[in-house]
Amino acid sequence: MVELGKYAGVVLAAYGVSLLLLAGLVGLTLWQGARTRRALDAQERRMAQDG
């Protein structure tokens, strides 16, 4: 483990918050993407069946 000295808490907090925010954004993007893709696939299949 790298030696962070007396500012360890500060540095870790900064990295923690940032990575959390980034992970949240990526997660949200992927989730929205998957949901939209599923809905679109379902819609296209239904419309193909109906003719």
């Binding site: 918050v17 940032s18 925010l21 993407g33 679109l40």
Partner: protein
Amino acid sequence: MSIWEYANPKRFMQTSGHVLPWVSGLAVLSLATGLVWGFFFTPEDYKQGSTVKIIYLHVPAAMLAINIWAMMLVTSLVWLIRRHHVSALAAKAAAPIGLTMTLIALFTGAIWGQPMWGTWWAWDPRLTAFLILFLFYLGYLALWEAIDNPDTAADLTAVLCLVGSVFAVLSRYAVNFWNQGLHQGATLSLDKEENIADVFYIPLLISIAGFVLGFVALLLLRTRTEIRARRLKALQARERMA
């Protein structure tokens, strides 16, 4: 072959589908390299101690926060002038990323400021300008959410983006006038004197590259989602008509 060919949603979907895995892979790679290098293998600054490591998050996020707004300005203009839907959707897709970047810059700055300046928040021009930028992103996103008709929403948000840009620049200079700065000058500039030392410089550059690539990957992903959502809406409308 011109850039306008990508204005065709189908064309955009094809190409972005091919490019996306590469960009995402590169983004993860360079982001991991930059941050791991910065976090584990850089020395401490003689004044700031280990808090200097926060720079690998703070500076790229702040750069992107501003440049994403600039990108939204360009795509909004393209939408208003040439009516390419992909362009409007790209602006919409970029806004949440810009919002997140602004938040990261503000948070890391506050966390860094606590031990260094002795305060979480100071009404310093740069900090204040970022807070205002955050409000602009919020308003922009809120306007997108509020309007049902997608074309009207795209038009109005584009107009807001144009006017907002002017006022954002104006606010930047107004707050400069209003209070003296605590914030240090440019981290990266062509002026060598002002620049940071090489040991910090190279991992920072890699980290910036990682952030930019990550933005591109997320932007492509989100724009694809927006295009799919638009198609879904169109199909549903057609079904109702039938």
